[in-house]
Symmetry: C2
Amino acid sequence: MINKLAINNMDCALMAAKEAMQLGEVPVGAAIINYLDGSIVSFSGNRVEADSDPTAHAEILAIRKAAGILNTPRLNMCDIYVTLEPCAMCAKAISLARLRRLYFGAEDPKGGAIYNGPKIFSHSGCNHYPEIYSGISEIISSRLLRDFFKLRR
Amino acid sequence: MINKLAINNMDCALMAAKEAMQLGEVPVGAAIINYLDGSIVSFSGNRVEADSDPTAHAEILAIRKAAGILNTPRLNMCDIYVTLEPCAMCAKAISLARLRRLYFGAEDPKGGAIYNGPKIFSHSGCNHYPEIYSGISEIISSRLLRDFFKLRR
């Protein structure tokens, strides 16, 4: 399933991550795709500092935007692409939004919550969990983050 | 530390939960208090259906509102009061917002993520975790939820 289409969609998330970097935000981006017609519903980069909002991770903003556009809190006709393994807040939001698939780039051994830490989708209390495809464009995603934190030191 | 002040602050969260119920939302409420002067910074009930937003849990909305009012994503001068044990999304948001203390009402064995399920604050990747005080006004909080789900059946 990790085909050319997935890489194209991840390019949209990567573009949002690069925009975040230009704003001085941690360069993570997300895109939400309607898998029925392949259209991009929404995309966003991190905006924590820009919006003075600790919840303004790329995934949360993209989910909120998509839900607003589609006028429903249930995005079961959509997939999400994220450049980095989501944290616990975003993983649970993906579950609550009923997204069908999660495609992500680099793993995050410290803050990630899919394969790492609290492993949000592995608990019985999690009513919905997406299919997961990882490692998509992970080298580009990781390099962006490494460059960002190198500049900050 | 579970004193009269804590119960008064929880009353604000309970009021927001009751408002949520009147909107047909799951009756959970949250309030954010500046512990330096005891003022209520923000409060909210769930608004998932009203806002078509799967992330619109009471805690997320109260945190976003408080961060907007105080113009910072770091709410380290604040405590949060929630009528129900937060889910993983909200627990991680509380950590990201650097809230000092979490006071909550009833435990949620199914969806809760503090003492239950993914136990968000117990992982080494969690950079900040609040002091936790549970069981405040828990009988009223539980009764609200029970009444809500009874009506729905």
